[in-house]
């Protein structure tokens, strides 16, 4: 049989339509199948603990959602893979999308991995929601205007908030500043953001030393000695891995924590290891988007914290909230899109459209997705107290701020925004 050019083109168009992302016929066939969600989270190394927090929160959410009927009537099934190096994580992402055929990928804590994975997500056209890991450097260049990728709040939000609280509570009470921050983009940017904020508010100060220990350095005695030699009035530190409690222990032993003001915006990642015996009261301490002992927490958050304590004999930190926010957002977006289609399962493009601008109640409070696919969440920071039932510090007085007041608007340059933004101090 002779095949005309016209019929060949028609056949090609039909095949193309069937294989396009969010194919027209796929949803109807998939109605009975569970929704598969791929999780990429670190399970070993220095970020294993937050990774585990996120996975546990996701599992809790899945159990809860499935008991309520799943997502738009379909049960949820998790496929968990490890986030490790950028190369290996990209391979696992590809497997989740191509082989495991997941409907959505969630996770990612490391900025390095997130930056490398971003372009792959766009190329694969697979809806992906990051939990964390969006330090400013390189984001605009590597992932400009993503369509399929939804990113977490800017990592610098916590530095902006702690800067504002420092200015509010300690303005005029310090003249010299020292920094000890992890030697990668997160630590460098946080310290730079803190300095830029002090400059923005005209706070006269002198940076007497900046220490940059490599992530995971466990003998910090020489760094502590260098800080002590500089005699700062205030120390700013975005240490957040297992090196943080080690630093506090060594700093306490060296008498560094006695009279120095301490600003630690990311300490909440290690909160249960920040023991009272070496962590002072009155330290500015960030819990990011989940403070487990928040007396104003929602019933949902209280239920989660109770479950976490009972099940894991531990207390959750903010990565649990980020993970819950990701899966709750996906559920809300699918159901919103499904409702708009009279109950039929939506295509991926419909879910993406529904996500942008969506408001979701997360464990840590209000959250939303901006039109540029960046999250807005509620942040908690405050001053430490020993007055609690635990063997670690909690917050005595604290404040909550919404990301809209802490992160640059869509399209703006972070450093230029700091110079001109109207902050609420």
């Amino acid at each position: 049989m002779a095949i005309s050019r016209r019929s060949l083109l028609k056949s090609a168009a039909a095949v193309g339509a069937l294989s396009a992302p969010g194919a027209v016929f796929a949803p109807a066939l998939a109605q009975r199948e569970p929704v598969r969600i791929g999780i990429l989270a670190p399970r070993s190394g220095i970020a294993a603990a937050p990774g585990e927090n996120g996975i546990r929160a996701t599992q809790w959410a899945v159990e809860r959602f499935n008991a309520q009927g799943g997502i738009a009537g379909r049960k949820i099934e998790l496929v968990i893979a490890e986030e490790s190096t950028p190369k290996d994580t990209i391979e696992r992402f590809s497997k989740l999308v191509q082989q495991d055929k997941v409907d959505c990928v969630q996770g990612i804590i490391s900025t390095g991995v997130g930056l490398a994975l971003g372009p792959v997500v766009e190329e694969a056209r697979a809806l992906t929601i990051y939990w964390d890991g969006t330090t400013q450097d390189g984001v605009d260049e590597k992932i400009p205007n993503p369509r399929y990728l939804f990113r977490s709040t800017d990592n610098e939000c916590e530095a902006i908030m702690s800067s504002l609280l420092t200015i509010k509570h300690w303005k005029g009470k310090f003249a010299t500043v020292a920094g000890i921050n992890p030697d990668y983009s997160y630590g460098r940017n946080n310290m730079a953001a803190f300095a830029a904020m002090l400059k923005r508010f005209g706070i006269e100060h002198k940076v007497v030393t900046e220490q940059w220990p490599k992530v995971g350095t466990m003998d910090l005695t020489s760094h502590v000695a260098a800080l002590k030699a500089a005699q700062p009035d205030l120390i700013f530190s975005s240490l957040l891995f297992a090196d943080l409690p080690v630093f506090m222990k060594q700093a306490h032993a060296a008498g560094l924590t006695k009279d120095t003001k301490l600003v630690f915006p990311a300490a909440g990642w290690q909160h249960t290891l920040m023991k009272k015996e070496f962590t002072p009261e009155g330290m500015l301490f960030g819990h990011n988007t989940l403070y487990f002992a928040n007396p104003n927490a929602s019933p949902l958050a209280k239920e989660f914290v109770d479950w976490y304590e009972k099940t894991h004999k531990d207390y959750p930190e903010w990565e649990a909230d980020r993970a819950y926010f990701a899966i709750a957002s996906y559920k809300a977006a699918v159901e919103k899109a499904s409702k708009a289609k009279n109950g039929s399962w939506p295509a991926q493009d419909d879910v993406i459209e529904a996500m942008a601008g969506l408001e979701v109640e997360s464990l840590g409070g209000k959250g939303a997705w901006r039109k540029d696919h960046i999250a807005e969440q509620t942040f908690v920071q405050g001053f430490t107290t020993h007055n609690n039932k635990y063997d670690f510090v909690t917050l005595g007085t604290f404040e909550t701020m919404y990301a809209a007041d802490l992160q640059k608007p869509a399209g703006a340059n972070f450093w230029d925004w700091i110079k001109t933004a109207q902050f609420k101090v």
């Binding site: 399970r43 070993s44 190394g45 220095i46 294993a48 603990a49 585990e52 030393t209 900046e210 220490q211 940059w212 490599k214 995971g216 350095t217 466990m218 003998d219 910090l220 005695t221 020489s222 760094h223 502590v224 000695a225 260098a226 002590k228 030699a229 500089a230 005699q231 891995f241 297992a242 090196d243 409690p245 080690v246 222990k249 060594q250 306490h252 032993a253 060296a254 008498g255 560094l256 290891l273 023991k275 015996e277 070496f278």
Partner: protein, 293 residues
């Protein structure tokens, strides 16, 4: 001056731990001519086991004052892994150095997975019980007594090793074996026994260093590789196979690191390797090493 003293003690503390690991490395290379990359794993093993050991001891009601001797005992107990590993290394004694490096690096990776299996992926640490020994402080100076005790332990180990190698019969046998294995064997020295003993001693130095440092730090899966790199800088500066070299190299690395953190923190790592390069260019055998014939 006070700041100088704080930095000095910080640097010497780091040097003390580095010396213990590097001494094990030097001893094994000096006698067995094996470059043992797994010395970092012994250090990590000591740290992990130290935490477990102190945990059990505390549960059994042992006084917190015994934390230091307890950790030394924990480090020594781990010496039992020395002989079987030395037995494994016998397969590569007469082979090219690259085989030795590959085998000992394989051990590093295997140990890492064993640690993950037994102690999990998360870093482990002790609470601040080590502060029970108190702190020596005055004006701006403040140093935990425990840190000074670790420094003293390293100095005592250096002195003890020196005396052992120079003044005991077994020490002479070790030196003779290091000097000329064939001749020592011809004179009736049981070289296999000597190798097993030396490797076990090297292992104990590493495990004890790890156990001693863990109360002030934490045990993590990456610590073996992190530390072995620094230990090799010590060995290159001091001279491969030389105990005095290990002592001097550790001090140089510890102090350079501590002072560069004060003067120009960005140079923390670079400063050490500038010295390494300078030594390799000016005195390739290291400060106390013997040039190859």
């Amino acid at each position: 001056m006070i700041a100088f003293a704080n930095i000095l003690v910080g640097g010497v503390f780091h040097a003390a731990v580095l010396f213990l690991v590097a001494a094990g490395l030097q001893l094994v290379f000096g006698v067995q001519k094996i470059i043992n990359l797994a010395c970092g794993s012994f250090y990590a093993l000591g740290a992990y086991f130290g935490i477990t050991f102190i945990g059990y001891a505390t549960d059994a009601g042992v006084s917190a004052w015994l934390i230091l001797p307890g950790l030394v005992v924990a480090g020594i107990l781990l010496g039992f892994i020395g002989p079987p590993i030395e037995r494994l290394l016998r397969t590569v004694y007469d082979r090219d150095e690259s085989f030795q490096l590959l085998l000992t690096f394989a051990l590093v990776l295997m140990f890492q997975d064993v640690f993950r299996f037994i102690w999990g992926s998360n870093p482990r640490s002790l609470d601040s019980a080590y502060l029970i020994y108190g702190t020596i402080s005055g004006r701006e100076f403040s140093v935990p007594v425990y840190n000074l005790l670790v420094i003293a332990a390293a100095i005592a180990t250096a002195a003890g090793l020196g005396a052992f190698l120079q003044r005991t019969d077994f020490g002479r046998i070790l030196r003779a074996t290091a000097e000329n294995r064939a001749m020592a064997e011809a004179l009736g020295v049981d070289v296999r026994r000597v190798y097993a003993a030396v490797f076990t001693l090297g292992t104990v130095l590493g495990t004890t260093a790890g156990a001693l440092v863990v109360p002030t730090a934490a045990a993590s899966l990456d610590m073996a590789i992190e530390f072995v790199v620094e230990a090799f800088a010590v060995v290159v500066i001091g001279g491969l196979g030389s105990m005095r070299g290990a002592f001097a190299g550790a001090l140089i690395v510890g102090l350079i690191r501590a002072y560069s953190l004060v003067l120009y923190p960005e140079l923390e790592v670079l400063a050490i390797y500038i010295i390494v390069i300078a030594v390799l260019l000016i005195r390739p055998a290291g400060l106390f090493g013997r040039p190859a014939a």
